[in-house]
Every structure is written in C-alpha cells, then in structure tokens.
C-alpha cells in the first residue's frame, strides 16, 4: 500500500504519544484517535497477505513481459520496488499493444490489471 505501512505506523506512534500527553487539546484528540484506529484496522487486514500478493503479482506481470528474473529477497520493500519496476514496464507494453492494435495482448494486460485490483481489495472497499 502507498504510503508504505512501516512509515505510517512510525508516524502514528509519534501521533499517539503526542495525543496521550496531558497538554494535548481535546479538539485534536478525537480526530487523531479515530483516524489512527481506522488506519490500524487497515494495516492489520493487509499484514498477512502482503508478501504473498506482491510475489504473485510480480510473477504474473513478469510472465506477461517475458521477464524470467526470480525474486531472491522477500523483504516487502524489495518486492514493492520490483513491483513498481514491473508495473512501469507493463504501462510501456500496454502502449505498444495499443499502437499495434494487438487486441489479444491488450486483453491479457487488462486481465492482469483487473486481477491486481482483486489482490489489493480491502474489506472496506467501495467498489
């Protein structure tokens, strides 16, 4: 997810400490705590499947692109960087397929894009 979960959790930790202090204005406390609890719920939901989804998506895009490199580092930050590289290449491949009128190739790319939104879908998703 963007922004990345570790950066958000670190920021929330600071926010919660500031909010817990006796000098924190009541007016800010409700807003900060309500939104922080909502973010924690989202982070909890995506935690377990995060690496699995990224590996699955990276492999699916790599296969579309004919990219046969295998992941050797399963840190989420590394998988996400690879995901960004592959999705940038997918955009380029999509443009080439459109310009060539290659409908089969376009359909395959759209199918993967649709699948990517299924992987990333939250329980609170509006669509």
């Amino acid at each position: 997810m963007t922004p990345e979960v570790p950066a958000v959790l670190a920021e929330m930790a600071g926010l919660l400490m500031r909010t817990a202090s006796p000098g924190a204005p009541d007016a800010e406390r409700t807003s900060a705590l309500t939104l922080s609890s909502m973010l924690l719920m989202v982070a909890a939901e995506v935690w377990d499947a995060a690496a699995q989804n990224l590996v699955q998506e990276n492999r699916a895009i790599a296969e579309l692109l004919g990219d046969h490199s295998l992941e050797s580092d399963l840190h989420l930050s590394v998988l996400r960087a690879e995901n960004s590289r592959l999705r940038a290449e997918l955009i380029a491949a999509h443009i080439i397929a459109e310009n060539a009128g290659d409908q089969i190739r376009q359909d395959a790319i759209w199918a993967e894009l649709r699948a990517s939104t299924d992987r990333r879908r939250l329980s609170i998703s509006l669509v």
Partner: protein
C-alpha cells in the same frame, strides 16, 4: 484545556470587528476529515451596542500541504457568489491570506448548525424515507449551479474562462500533471484511462458554467426532512463543462457501495432531475467521458494525498486513510466505467 488557536483567533477577530468589545473565542473543535483545509468550529462571544452576542463560526485554514492544492481566494469567492441564491451556502465573513495571524492563510464563515453531512449517517436507515427528497434537492441545486451566469456572479474575474471546446483538455492536462508530479508508484490503470480520454474527446461544452468540482453526497448539509441547507467544499470550483459536475457524482466511489447514484437514486433519475433544473442536456457519450475523467481526477486526488504524506508536507492520518482506502477502489471504479471489471 483551551486550544492554542483560541487566543490568536480572538486577536484576529478584534481587528475585523472594531465596534465590538470583550471578544472571546471558545469551544474550538476540529472537524474530522477536512483534508484540503483544516476545519474547526468555534463559538465567538462579544459585546456590541451594550448587548452580549454569541455566534457559531467555522475556521478553514490551509494546512502545510494539502490533499487538494487550491487557491482559498477562489473558494471564498465561490461561496460569496452563491450566498442568498437558490444554491444554499454558508455566509463568508473574512478571508485572510497573510500568514501572520494563524501561520497559514484561512477564512472564517458562519456555521450552519443543526444539520448533518456524513453519508454513513444518511445511509444508516434513519433517513431512508427522505432519500428521494435528498436526491431531488441534490441534483436540483446542482442544476441551479449550472444555470448560473459566471460573469453575473463576478466569478470570471477570479476564475479562468476557457473556451467551451477547451474545457476537457484543460482539466485532463491538469490532472495528468498531478500524476506526473505526485505518483509514488506507477498507475497502469489510470494511465490507460488517460490515453483513452485523449483519444476519444467529448464534444464542446454546451456553455461555460460554474463547476463546483466536488459535488457529491457528503459535501452538503441535510436535515431529517431531506432538505439541503448548505453546499460545502468549494475548493475545486472553476469554470468549465457542466457535465463535469454532473459526472463527478457518478464516479462509482460516490455510490458508497449502494449501487445508486450518490447512494440515493438510479442514475437516470438523477440526470432527469438535473436536466429539469439546469435546462441543459446530458449527452450519454459525453457524460461517459466525464464520468471516466472524474475517476481519473479522483485517483489524482488520492495520489496527491499519498504524496503529501510521503514528502512530509502533511502527516495527518487523513492523508494516509484517503490513499489506503481509495487508491485501489478508484482503480476498480475506472475499470468499471471502462467496462473492464
């Protein structure tokens, strides 16, 4: 504990109300969810002509970095233009663009009290009998915005006036630029939608209209009878194609998972209300173009929200929540409008 803004607000208001005395600001309360401006409600007490007075007011202050970077002067002008018209808006009091008083530019308005804005409340069951009335008022008011003459309202002096054949390109250029500058990761779905929009432009606008820019369920004040008492959040107001405003509410995100336009009524019913009120037509192909455009625009807003957090310009939790909650949902909305979901 008293809020640090209370004393500073009181000092500022003293400069705006020299005829008043004993000015005191209290009960300041942050309103959750305001991501483009920090929004607070507060109580102003003072004495004038020997009598004690109390007013409930709203402060809208620019944050260090915003989900939507816009000129508060335009927002202020839009509110002022429609005050007292068939488009209900709160009364604007003071616009302050210097940073000396409260660190960032801000404006102050009268609060419209006793009404609700939250879609979650509107759709919780207690308002089911008046949802059709809310829909009628919602799209009738939007029709009145489209019907208004921007020049007569004085808005052509503060807002750019594109030609009717330039409206779509101006907006698409603006939001594509947001992706170019703000995206933290590639956006293959939004980029594909942008290519389609450029290859299939809509016809020229029927007329140049005031476009609210964020006219959706959640941005107006409603009561138990289904009446609408105030249209809020004009920070993206501009002049453009009236179908842009109509279609913003048809972004599937704003169905709130209910499968109805704005979560209220079927889309064709909403269009019929708007047509009757505005006197304009809603060409289906053009409306589809603007609906897809608005999905891209929505994604541009969520992308900008994530960027503001990542760069440290605004570390408020709402900036993250908007991105986490809506980036993927907006991608799915784009797919749905393009017939690919």
């Amino acid at each position: 504990m008293s809020h640090p803004l209370e004393a500073r607000l009181a000092r500022y208001i003293e400069t705006q109300m020299p005829e008043a005395s004993d000015i005191e600001v209290s009960q300041i309360e942050r309103i959750s969810g305001g991501a483009s401006r920090e929004t607070y409600r507060f109580v102003l007490n003072y004495r004038q002509d020997g009598a004690a007075q109390t007013r409930r007011l709203i402060l809208r202050r620019d944050p260090p970095a915003s989900l939507i970077d816009t000129d508060r002067r335009i927002e202020f002008a839009a509110y002022r233009a429609f005050y007292g018209s068939t488009v209900p808006v709160p009364r604007m009091l003071w616009l302050e663009e210097a940073e000396t008083a409260l660190d960032h530019p801000f404006f102050i308005a009268e609060e419209l009290t006793g009404f609700q804005t939250a879609p979650q409340l509107l759709f919780a069951g207690g308002y089911d009998k008046v949802l059709a009335k809310v829909a009628d008022r919602k799209w009738s008011i939007l029709g009145q915005i489209a019907r208004a003459d921007p020049a007569a309202l004085g808005l052509t002096s503060v807002m750019a006036s594109p030609g009717v054949d330039e409206c779509w390109r101006r907006e698409l250029d603006h939001w594509e630029h947001i992706f170019d500058t703000d995206e933290a990761e590639p956006q293959p779905i939004a980029r594909a939608a942008i290519r389609w929009l450029r290859s299939n432009p809509p016809p020229p606008a029927q007329k140049l209209c005031v476009v609210h820019g964020d006219y959706r369920t959640g941005n107006f004040l409603f009561d138990q009878e289904g009446e609408i008492h105030g249209v809020l959040d004009w920070e993206m107001a501009h002049l453009g194609d009236p179908l842009e405003d109509l279609a913003w509410g048809f972004n599937p995100i704003w169905e709130f998972g209910r499968g109805l336009a704005g979560g209220l009524v079927p889309q064709d019913q909403a269009i019929a209300i708007w047509r009757k009120s505005s006197g304009l037509i809603a060409d289906p192909a053009a409306l589809h173009w603007w609906t897809l455009f608005n999905c891209v625009k929505g994604q541009g807003i969520w992308v900008g929200s994530a960027r503001a957090f990542i760069d440290g310009g605004n570390k408020e939790p709402i900036m993250v929540y908007a991105a986490w909650w809506l980036l993927n949902a907006q991608d799915r909305a784009i797919l749905k409008v393009m017939g690919r979901l």
